[in-house]
Symmetry: C2
Subunit: 129 residues, 2 copies
Amino acid sequence: MGKAKQPLDSALVCGHEDPIAVRELLTRVGDKWSIFLILSLAKLGGRARFSQLDRAIPGISQRMLTLTLTHLERDGLIAREVFAEIPPRVEYELTALSRSLVEAMQGLVDWVAQNWKQVSAARAEYDAR
Amino acid sequence: MGKAKQPLDSALVCGHEDPIAVRELLTRVGDKWSIFLILSLAKLGGRARFSQLDRAIPGISQRMLTLTLTHLERDGLIAREVFAEIPPRVEYELTALSRSLVEAMQGLVDWVAQNWKQVSAARAEYDAR
DNA sequence: CTGTATCCTTTCGGATACTG
DNA sequence: CAGTATCCGAAAGGATACAG
């Protein structure tokens, strides 16, 4: 094979392969609503319905919830299942692909949770000058 | 104090402490230009000048480079040093705070680098229906 | 070289009202 | 319950010209 597994060079993202596709996907997986959605779903056991997600993600509008779900489904990150009941029930589930993404997203969120106060302080100091 | 170190619960982000500040910071550190900037800087040894960064980040406009640098400096994630020379020289450096962020950002970028083709395929299939 | 300033188009995203 | 449709203001961001 000649080439072992990718060294995970960030140059792969910053200039090779398909910079535009990669950049666009990064805006998707770096988006706050996508992150909260995926992580909330993970926290809810990997599967939940619309209203559960709505309640689990503070501040999200119905519109953004719907839109984000649609995008993530299109990207293969969420599977959607509709039950023919009244009242309607729809369940969303993480896919194998998104399960592999959870850890990376969690890493970013953890950093924010640990460091946002420091950043706030830095901003206050900057603004004071 | 009385309070030991935070358990890193993602609920901390999704609903407690200061949801708005946390959400806003997440959009900052999840932003593609912030990510490329921090990671490029890391790849360049943690310190680089304006033009180097411009070249290292394909597709970024001068405006976005300047803006992102300003934001990151304000957030305490980048230190800026100006040299009184002609022609002007300005160097940017990662801070202790941003160095702790590199790994988390890299995790997200690595995921994208590894999985973007799968996502592309999922999109194609979705659009075909 | 390292920016700033301005213009202008595109996209984001909340509010609200309506539907099967 | 789980959406869709529409409106509209706000923000993102490229292009371009200019400046210290």
